[in-house]
């Protein structure tokens, strides 16, 4: 009996001696140094410049600019709109995120076909322009705190639907978003996984996109980020700007309410 107690105590001592989760390993530290080095000279600035030019440029069948686009704070207001999206828009009668709202403006103001752009694969044609515009608009709200409206009943519905989608398990791996992003201090290989069921802090999770991916040299908006999450879960791809993706974004955004948006960020 005494022997077992001693053994148990020894086992406890060993446990306490191993590096705790809270302690950062050398590998994680060097990854953070690498990220800090990348921070200076983030190529997303190139996409910001492109997006700003696209906003003012007369384009499309109607040969108009996007300068009268209403992103939630009235036509033409672009400062601070990003941190208040997704939100409900009375003119379209639906909750929209930045990218789906840009599609609406490109259709109504410039005469582009929104459905056609939504069906275009990421990184091709007009999709690149939507991403650049979203990048510039995110930069115009950099360091502002997320403040998604939740006063309209539809906005509350989207939050609740997003929450259910987040925990919905399915696909060949029986995965949900929560499988990876439902607890603290987890990672895949060297990537820290933020816990997205609660406020994950300034510039983490929802507050970091759009972001430039160094490994493939691509600029990704939130739509592509969510699309890729579904790819990793081996789900069918959700439609671009679909209610499902906007509901998920609403859930993530409201959870991070009050955290500062650092987008456009830089990722591995």
């Amino acid at each position: 009996m005494r022997m077992t107690k001693a053994l148990a105590l020894m086992a406890l001592a060993t446990l306490a001696g191993t590096p705790a989760w809270a302690q950062k390993s050398a590998a994680v530290q060097s990854i953070e140094e690498y990220r800090a080095m990348l921070q200076d000279g983030n190529p997303s600035e190139l996409f910001e410049a492109k997006g700003e030019a696209l906003w003012k440029q007369k384009r499309g069948p109607k040969n108009a600019s996007l300068e009268q686009c209403d992103l939630g704070k009235g036509p033409g207001v672009f400062k601070g709109v990003f941190v208040e999206l997704p939100r409900y828009f009375a003119d379209t009668g639906r909750v929209q995120d930045m990218e789906s709202r840009l599609l609406t403006c490109m259709e109504t103001l410039q005469g582009f076909k929104a459905a056609e752009i939504a069906a275009t694969p990421f990184g091709k044609g007009e999709q690149n322009n939507v991403t650049a515009l979203a990048t510039w608009l995110a930069a115009e709200s950099r360091d502002m705190k997320l403040k998604l409206p939740q006063s309209h009943p539809q906005e509350k519905v989207f939050y609740e639907v997003g929450k259910r989608l987040f925990f919905q398990r399915g696909g060949p791996h029986d995965f949900s978003c929560a499988s990876c992003h439902g607890q603290d201090n987890t990672r895949i290989r060297l990537q820290d996984l933020p816990n997205l069921t609660k406020n994950s802090g300034d510039g983490v999770g929802f507050a970091a996109w759009p972001a430039y991916r160094v490994s493939n040299g691509q600029m990704w908006g939130m739509q592509q980020r969510l699309n890729d999450c579904y790819r990793q879960q081996r789900f069918p791809y959700p439609g671009f700007g679909s209610d499902a993706t906007i509901a998920l974004a609403t859930y993530l955004g409201v959870n991070s309410q009050g955290s500062a948006s650092v987008a456009p960020a830089i990722k591995r």
Partner: protein, 103 residues
């Protein structure tokens, strides 16, 4: 035409630090497309920088430099208000020049 560069130049003491971001595909010529065909090389070959019109840097770049490259260098004797010019030329003969003022 190629997309513009982003150039920032900041003076500190008797020198200025210049940071340049260039928008370029930088295709190495070693990758294959979905059909298995080699994607032709397309990358910056020459980079030059000037300080008030006087050359201060010239570099030969190859396919190992990343997409959308970032370049940082220090110019001795540059002070606020001076002009820093950067030019690149790629293997297709395309070129782009941009200028920034030291702050």
């Amino acid at each position: 035409m190629a997309d513009p560069m982003r150039i920032r130049a900041q003076a500190a003491g008797d020198k200025a630090t210049v940071r340049v971001l260039m928008a370029h595909e930088m295709e190495s010529g070693q990758r294959k497309d979905a059909a298995g065909k080699i994607i032709p090389a397309w990358h910056i070959q020459e980079v030059t920088a000037t300080h008030n019109g006087k050359p201060v840097l010239s570099a030969e770049w190859g396919p190992a430099v990343s997409k959308n490259p970032f370049l940082q260098f220090v110019v001795k004797g540059a002070k606020a208000g001076d002009k820093i010019g950067v030019t690149w030329k790629d293997n297709k003969g395309e070129t782009r020049s941009d200028e920034a003022t030291v702050s």
